[in-house]
């Protein structure tokens, strides 16, 4: 893989890495504790002491963004792990067993697709109360059919190749063929889809927190910051702009990385020299 050929991959990965590093840093250090309320210094603009200013409780915005990014990434990544962990095996099973197994899995994913994510999130909240975990479950459930379809589609093109027949001749079971032959050959697709779902997950988490079904105070997330700032938008637009722009930049970075990865991993898009 020649990375210089894919500038979008490098830009996307670098920007993502910066945000991930900031988010991880918030675990051990933030400029100020995020729960520290100090009404006296509220609504300060950016300054040497508070790089991004303070919000209406006088909390340090830079600290909130770092911590909020961590929440957003954690929720989205956990949802991707749930989606890929369950969806990819289901998709592989559909591709290799075909018949009723495939029918059940496909109809199951249609069923999940038919529900808006928000409705399910509200349902979960109604049952067990709001929180980051619930956001993870709600987003993760909707990732499952996405990964199942991607895995099935990729695996269907692989399963008809002769090396799969050769593996059957060698006495491998369907499950072993899926693990040894199908999974490695569709890994590129799954990784690309994971970056896209990570971006969508960050958006979904922001949305759920915004309507109050996601992360709960005193923890924070980018969506929650937006929610807190919305009533003050006319007076203090900066408070909404900061988390809003951070969400936009992270999503763009992830999409760039995903596009770049797809180009780098897809042999059909490789330049001529390596093909000949």
């Amino acid at each position: 893989m020649r990375l210089p050929r894919h500038p979008s991959l490098i830009i996307g990965l670098a920007a993502t890495a910066v945000f991930v590093a900031l988010a991880l840093l918030s675990l051990v250090w933030t400029p100020y504790p995020i729960a520290q309320i100090d009404i006296a210094r509220r609504f300060q603009g950016p300054s040497g002491a508070h790089w991004l200013g303070t919000d209406f409780f006088g909390r340090d915005m830079a600290s909130l963004v770092m911590s909020g990014t961590l929440t957003s990434f954690t929720v989205a990544a956990a949802a991707v792990v749930i989606g890929a962990g369950l969806g990819v095996p289901l998709g592989l099973a559909a591709a290799i067993w075909r018949g009723p197994v495939e029918w059940l899995i496909l109809r199951g994913s249609d069923f999940v697709f038919a529900f808006p994510a928000l409705v399910v999130a509200i349902l979960i909240t109604a049952l067990i109360g709001p929180g980051a975990i619930n956001a993870v479950v709600a987003i993760g459930v909707f990732n499952i059919p996405v990964f199942a379809r991607v895995a099935r589609g990729g695996a269907l093109t692989v399963v008809s190749l002769d090396f799969v027949a050769a593996a059957r001749l060698a006495g491998l079971s369907n499950a072993a063929i899926a693990r040894r032959h199908l999974l490695p050959n569709i890994m590129g697709l799954v990784i690309v889809q994971a970056t896209i779902q990570l971006a969508l997950g960050i958006l979904a988490e922001a949305g759920l927190s915004y309507i109050g079904l996601g992360t709960q105070p005193p923890a924070t997330s980018l969506g929650l910051m937006l929610r807190d700032a919305q009533s003050l938008f006319v007076l203090h637009p900066f408070l909404s702009l900061v988390p809003g722009l951070v969400i936009i930049v992270i999503v763009i970075a992830l999409n760039l990385a995903g596009d770049g990865l797809r180009d780098a991993l897809d042999p059909r898009l490789k330049p001529v020299e390596s093909a000949a």
Partner: protein, 515 residues
């Protein structure tokens, strides 16, 4: 004056020199052949003449069409292509729009040339009925689709027809018919032909003059009869020898007892019908009975779609028969219910060496896969068995750590054979074992197969539509048509004195030997 003059043509992609300083001329109405193996640059040469090279290619040298150099302007070039050059490609399914009736596609070609002409007349000229124009590409056979492609190329009444491997996706019988059609059309219309192929016999059948390409260089050119009859260049000599399918004689041992016998083997596929009516079932294999004796080499021949491959898949347990049974060494199975201890005794070599290895696995991993069938074999023997088999097919054990894409087609097919022999099977099914390979390595692989058969006491069932190959390696031939075995006999008798219609057709389609 020549119609097409190519002088000192070089085509490069980055550092890779794909075509290197070739030159030739094609006269008006002349039939010119360009011969070479995959990667020799023959298709690029054709694309250069039509001005269709990919943008990443760098072209040097001159191409003159009817005395004038190829225009640089894309519109003028398109006009030249549309009016004076007709092209036919290898794969007629991907060259036609699947969502458009073929008649309309021909009509489109006609409308673009404004030459005036009639869809029905064109279809009749290429040996189809005017009613075929009402069909979609998937409703036509491979040969019919290629005829449609030719009709589209003829729409502009071109001065030259460039045909790039037009018959290599077709079976033998269809190939002969399409070649005859191209020859007749060139004669009737006084059209020049540039015929690109790796098949020397097809080129010899059609062309009066040939050029031989090897890795972008032209190694020999001249009259067909003299180039193929008395090749001056070493590479041409190798190609001609390979085309003649001369194999070292191997003493055929007298066959032993019956190893494999099928009884009334039948496989039906359900076809999609128009809802709510169920589709008519397609019987791919229809009550097939045959027996193979230990040590025999049996060939199964027939046109494409006659059920050869389905039969092979059932025999090795990749598919299951709807009716009938197979007895292997006296033990009965029906396909996929083949018991694991029997599985190690039969194996299959696939047609396409490029898809028969997992690209993400080292060759050693792929080759070791069948060893799981031998639970008695101690693990330390695995390495030894691998090395032994790789050496047996003429490759180095050190190559085992490499990945499939590092090997050529011929090497991969050798590795596929090594994998098939890992469990030391008694019975090997070979599905078109050399048809995907370049001509010059076919003979080597066949010679290898014959040597391995003697060394390991193997029994072969070879599926092929290449009668020359069959004549060279088979003890007995089964002719299959529409799922049934219609004739059976020794190759020499069968091919000199065919009794069944199908056999006669196959024998008639056999192209004369070159040289």
């Amino acid at each position: 004056m020549s119609l097409v003059e190519v002088a000192n043509l070089s085509i490069a992609f980055g550092a890779l020199q794909a075509v290197d300083g070739i030159g030739f001329a094609i006269g008006k109405g002349e039939r010119f052949g360009l011969v070479g193996e995959s990667g020799s640059g023959k298709t690029l040469t054709a694309l250069a003449i039509a001005g269709l090279l990919p943008e990443t290619a760098r072209r040097e040298g001159t191409i003159r069409f009817d005395g004038a150099p190829l225009p640089h302007d894309e519109r003028a070039l398109a006009r030249l292509r549309g009016k004076r050059i007709g092209m036919v490609f290898q794969e007629p399914m991907t060259a036609l729009n699947p969502l458009m009736k073929v008649g309309r596609q021909i009509g489109e070609a006609l409308a673009l040339t404004k030459a005036g002409g009639d869809i029905g007349a064109l279809l009749t000229e290429v040996g189809l009925l005017p009613t075929h124009g009402e069909r979609y590409p998937h409703q036509l056979s491979g040969g019919q689709r290629q005829r449609v492609m030719i009709a589209m190329a003829l729409a502009s009444a071109p001065d030259i027809l460039i045909a790039d491997e037009p018959t290599s996706a077709l079976d033998l019988v269809t190939q002969a018919k399409v070649l005859d059609l191209i020859a007749a059309l060139c004669d009737r219309r006084g059209m020049a032909l540039m015929f690109i192929s790796h098949d020397l016999k097809a080129v010899a059948r059609l062309c009066t003059r040939v050029a031989v390409l090897q890795r972008g260089r032209m190694v020999e050119a001249g009259e067909t009869a003299s180039v193929f009859g008395a090749p001056g260049d070493g590479y041409t000599r190798r190609l001609v020898a390979a085309a003649r399918m001369q194999l070292p004689e191997i003493a055929h041992g007298s066959p032993g007892g019956v190893l494999v016998a099928t009884r009334g083997l039948t496989r039906r596929f359900r076809q999609p019908g128009s809802w709510p009516l169920p589709g008519k079932p397609l019987t791919a294999v229809d009550k097939v009975d045959f027996a193979v004796r230990t040590g025999e080499s049996i060939a199964l021949v027939g046109p494409s779609g006659c059920g050869k491959t389905t039969l092979a898949r059932i025999l090795v347990g990749l598919d299951t028969a709807n009716a009938g049974s197979i007895a292997f060494d006296g033990r009965v199975y029906h396909g996929a219910d083949l018991s694991p201890d029997l599985r190690r005794d039969l194996s299959l070599v696939f047609q396409d060496p490029f898809s028969s290895f997992d690209p993400r696995m080292s060759v050693a991993q792929s080759l070791a896969e069948p060893l799981r069938l031998l639970d008695g074999l101690p693990p330390e023997m695995h390495r030894q068995r691998l090395a032994e088999n790789v050496a047996a097919v003429g490759l180095e054990p050190a190559m085992l750590t490499r990945f499939p894409h590092e090997f050529s087609g011929g090497q991969r097919q050798r590795l596929a054979i090594a994998r098939a022999l890992m469990t030391r099977p008694k019975f090997l099914v070979l599905d078109e074992p050399v048809s995907a390979l370049d001509l010059s390595v076919r003979a080597e692989v066949l010679a290898l197969l014959m040597r391995l058969k003697a060394d390991y006491g193997l029994t072969y069932l070879v599926i092929s539509h290449d009668l020359d190959m069959v004549a060279a390696i088979a003890d007995r031939v089964l002719v299959m048509q529409a799922g049934r075995i219609v004739e059976e006999g020794k190759p020499a008798e069968l091919f000199t004195n065919p009794r069944h219609e199908m056999t006669r057709e196959l024998v008639a389609a056999r192209l004369p030997a070159v040289g």
